[in-house]
Symmetry: C2
Subunit: 655 residues, 2 copies
């Protein structure tokens, strides 16, 4: 159901924004760039976000925090008000608005636009070469004068009537064909698996009773260290029919790849840990095929992408040397397999395709992202970035590709941050600050009282504090501001985001200088990785034409803020694309078309891997990146312009 659009006008800013009915008023304000003091994340506890209805009505917004007469006058709590129609809202002076900010231009939230695979586009571009096709046949029945073997009867028929050549029947087909033919009056459907390399053989991998041409399915899977995703795909339409994510069962044997490798090195560990991830995959398969009403036997192929460790564990390849210098993985390319060889619960005929990897720390998930995003087909110099605890960086275009991995540390997932947390209910995910009173506007996931700060919230916070002059380019608080929110505690300076009674945790939630320092190190690692790679190939960061973000983190990042802190190179936000789970997307692409399956081998070969620890300039770049946004402000001309304008007294620079 499409939600109605409502127009919200904020006074005295006189700023209009269109939002979906049901949106909370305080989120609409944040989106419009209108600051409203709000500490409690939107649960109506702090009572600071009083606004006044000038015309129209909202649902809710009435609270014991408001006096009866104020309610009658039209006051509401912004965080408790849901928009249900066009409305005009006035931000009262006591909610902390200085007239000078009213001229601030409306800048829409600059998250990346989300890339969607388009099956029809694939077809138009000639990229669609289905790896699996089904052919329905009504074969002539054998007679005493025509008793060629069953398999040859089928192959001859396909040759004559379907112009199919170089056919070879696989053993499971040979084993069942005689009965299938005779039990169905020789009316059957053959499943043909096309060769990836033209001129090779087409394999007949299944033969089924009657006409099953409308049932042609595949599975794409992303084997993440934390989460495994599976998607059921209709090969005829290209559509995803069902998707499921489950925690990787290996989590019980260690949270990260290193602890998984250590477990796999124990006697029997590799077998066990392989079994466990296959169980997770099988659970997902069972759920998605049940949900879509698809029979297991109708699935012809599964494509699996994962990082190098996940890939080696899935294939039962000793991962021991991945974590030991000089970090040698076993292979980049894996031969095609039958899914059952890995223990995957599909039919005997189902093929398993494993995404190739590049190095110990640039795995199949990244290759899949490069394939799925189409980065390897573009002329534009593109930066592909998958940010997590480890960040993988790919730079290049259709002519060349360079890649590297770096350890960003867990800051983006809330690790090493005093009140850091994953992006779940109660995490502060958006933030604004009053330029004069330094009062915060906290928005939390779920509009509940805050529990902590998630990664994307942290970036917005640090960027905002930096732009407002609350912290300097080393991430240190300005000790001279007139606010009690900035304070020293046990020798550590911090900013109080919410006081204990406004939180769910009965403790003041603060952002400390060490938190900021951790974020700076994390973003510095990533940015200097990009810089090093670009420099190694003889280019300059300003030559970047496109950024592709992948991974769970990317969808929520405020791009402008990410550039402000120097996490991302400065670029027009419209040139930034978010591809979501790039690994799953690439797996899906390879599942859909042999063109991608063919290209991936060449692309993997083309991806030059740089070991950052072995690249002398990396450390120099890293040190230069441990500033907000960077030592060399020429990399960030817009940020520089804004800071310069502020320094010249412009409280609200329009850059």
């Amino acid at each position: 159901m499409q939600r109605a659009k409502c127009k919200v006008t904020f006074l005295p800013h006189n700023r209009e924004i269109e939002v979906n009915a049901g949106e909370s008023l305080i989120r609409a304000a944040m989106e419009a760039g209108v600051h409203i003091n709000a500490s409690c994340g939107g649960e109506g506890v702090c009572g600071k976000c009083r606004v006044m209805l000038e015309s129209g009505t909202v649902d809710g917004g009435i609270s014991e925090r408001l006096k009866r007469e104020d309610i009658d006058k039209g006051y509401r709590l912004a965080c408790r008000s849901q928009i249900s129609g066009d409305v005009v809202i006035r931000i009262p002076v006591e909610s902390g608005i200085d007239a000078s900010v009213l001229n601030k231009k409306y800048i829409p939230r600059s998250t990346a636009h989300i890339w969607q695979m388009n099956f029809d586009e694939l077809k138009e571009q000639g990229l669609f070469i289905s790896p699996v096709e089904k052919k329905y046949m009504e074969l002539p029945e054998p007679t005493q004068h025509d008793n060629v073997p069953d398999v040859m009867r089928m192959i001859n028929f396909l040759k004559i009537n379907h112009d199919e050549h170089r056919l070879v029947a696989e053993l499971p087909v040979i084993r069942k064909i005689s009965d299938v033919l005779r039990q169905n009056n020789f009316k059957v459907t053959a499943t043909l698996a096309r060769p990836v390399q033209p001129g090779r053989k087409t394999h007949i991998i299944n033969v089924q009773p009657g006409d099953t041409t409308d049932r042609n399915y595949a599975i794409a899977a992303d084997i993440g260290t934390t989460t495994v995703y599976g998607q059921l795909i209709d090969l005829n339409s290209g559509k995803g029919l069902a998707e499921q994510g489950e925690f990787n069962g290996q989590i019980s044997y260690g949270e990260d790849v290193i602890s998984r490798i250590m477990y796999a090195e124990k006697p029997g560990g590799l077998d066990k840990i392989q079994e466990v991830v296959v169980k997770t995959i099988n659970d997902i398969i069972r759920k998605i095929i049940r949900r879509a009403g698809v029979d297991k036997e109708e699935i012809s192929t599964i494509t699996l992408a994962g990082n190098t460790t996940m890939t080696q564990l899935l294939l039962k390849i000793n991962p021991r040397y991945i974590r030991r210098a000089p970090y040698v993985p076993t292979s980049t390319i894996y031969p095609p397999l039958r899914a059952v060889e890995l223990g995957i619960d599909l039919g005997q005929h189902a093929k398993a395709l494993i995404y190739p990897i590049v190095s110990s720390y640039v795995g199949g998930d990244i290759v899949a992202g490069v394939m799925g995003s189409g980065m390897y087909r573009t002329d534009e110099l593109t930066l592909f970035l998958d940010i997590g605890t480890n960040a993988e960086i790919v730079i290049g275009n259709k002519d060349w590709l360079a890649c590297a991995a770096c350890s960003a540390g867990p800051a983006f997932e809330g690790g090493g941050i005093e009140f850091g947390m994953r992006a779940s209910e109660g995490a502060i995910e958006d933030f604004s600050i009053d330029p004069f009173t330094y009062e915060p506007m906290n928005l939390t996931i779920g509009n509940v009282r805050p529990k902590g700060i998630c990664g994307s919230g942290l970036i917005i916070m640090v960027a905002t504090l930096f732009e407002m002059g609350v912290i300097d380019n080393l991430g240190k608080f300005n000790r001279n501001l007139n606010t009690t929110r900035i304070r020293e505690r046990d020798g550590i300076w911090e900013y109080v985001l919410a006081y204990a009674p406004e939180t769910q945790i009965d403790r003041d939630i603060v952002l400390t200088e060490p938190d900021i320092d951790n974020l700076i190190r994390a973003k510095g690692a990533i940015y200097s990785g990009c810089m090093t790679l670009i420099e190694e190939v003889g280019l300059d960061v300003s030559s970047l034409q496109r950024i592709i973000l992948a991974g769970g983190f990317g969808s929520y990042v405020d791009l402008e803020k990410a550039m402000t802190i120097g996490l991302l190179p400065e670029i027009d936000p419209a040139k930034v694309t978010y591809v979501g789970n790039g690994s799953l997307m690439g797996a899906r692409m390879s599942t859909l078309t042999n063109r991608i399956r063919k290209d991936v081998v060449e692309v993997t070969r083309k991806m030059t891997n740089f070991e950052l620890s072995e690249t002398p300039s990396y450390m120099d770049h890293y040190v230069a990146s441990l500033f907000l946004p960077h030592t060399d402000m020429n990399h960030f001309p817009k940020v520089k312009a804004r800071l310069d304008a502020r320094r010249n007294g412009d409280i609200n620079p329009q850059v």
Copy 2:
């Protein structure tokens, strides 16, 4: 140890023959074409084979059947005498020699010469393209500046140092390579499996510690209905290292293919019967590798050939339709497999190659025979004949091949013959008759008292009786001969080969008219099969240039006698080759060279199968073949000439 050659001169024939020391005197006589009455097969029981030493000595030959004074005179029993030096022997008149036979020209035993595969010849002919090669490598160890994945390190090395291209590593190799490399200082041996089709990929199927290039082995196996043979082959030298035959364990589930199929149709039967033959194969493998001191892991490939039923059972393909009109087998060609997929106890990397079949009754054993014998490469019009209960016939040359199968019945294996038996100890295997007294000369396998008659003996017997005029061209005894050996018993005419006291079975061993009739039907089926095939391709039986015999039966057949009864087309015996176990030979050839593996697909496609039961002329040919040798004597000009000469009073025609 080479045995000494001794010259034996028979008087009054004045015929000389050279034989190995240790040969029995009676066999030397048979070989020289010298008849000596002998009923008891050579055990010295009948005492009829008295001969006299004119000069020289023999070992043994003294018996209580001889009087003291006769021994002193130089009399010996021929059957108990072993030749130990040059000797002159006189056949006494009482041993039944008529002077008129003394002019009979010496005709050597006309068994087929035995074909031996010659590895060097293969190489000279450019036919040797080893399917498996090993390469020893000393790889550079990875460093921080050279940390390409292990598999790529190996592939790159093979590319640069061994000019190897299009390499792909298989999963078992990927799984073990990292450890093998590091446990052996990066000094390892790779096993490369070459593509059968040029331009396809070379698979790296194994990687082993150190230098194992001198250990490169394969197995060839013939899966017979009765017996399974396996041969261990050194791929470097082409030599067979060990061979073993075992009864096919499936015998417990039925003696012939039909009963095996019936068993396989029962619930669980197919699984069971597959398991059983694999157990037989595994037993053989275990024995031959132990005997040769070869490690199981050093075996890279196994080639298996069998008839269509044996092949389908081995591959666990329902054989149900093989025995039901219109006799449709499931497939002619089978994809390459890993041996372990069939349950064969070899390394994970070992490939299994299954010989293709042509039709339900012309199987992989015959295709293997055609490949191994080189029939498909010759210009000469060749007849390939594998005679057993079923006879398979292939006619053709390098340009075309036609094949058929017919049921000969069990006569050649002693079935349906009153005293028929398999070729084992006590079977009469050679026979001669005195042209005047009609007394027999029986030689048995093992020189023991007779138990019965084996197939090759039966052919000699019937041919000899026919040529001597003891039976006519319908196989009926001449009722007017002056001998008590031909008699009527319960309305059936028969010839007494040995009287009860001369036998091991205390019964008269006889050859009956129904026995002869069965033989005539069996040879008629085969000959008319050949005729029909030849006629269907527009040729004439006289155009045959070469005959290749295969199967256990072929080695003992006296070719001249086989032509006399009309089993084989009349041809110069020098043009007849015996290839022994053609199936095993073909399997061995395919194991040794990819050239044969490549050719076999084309050859199988080329082999046009004729269903004799569906060929109208077959019955006419069959009826015409129910004579000795045939209704149309123009097919057998030499037999005709001999018979004509006899009819004109020449007792010993020199044709």
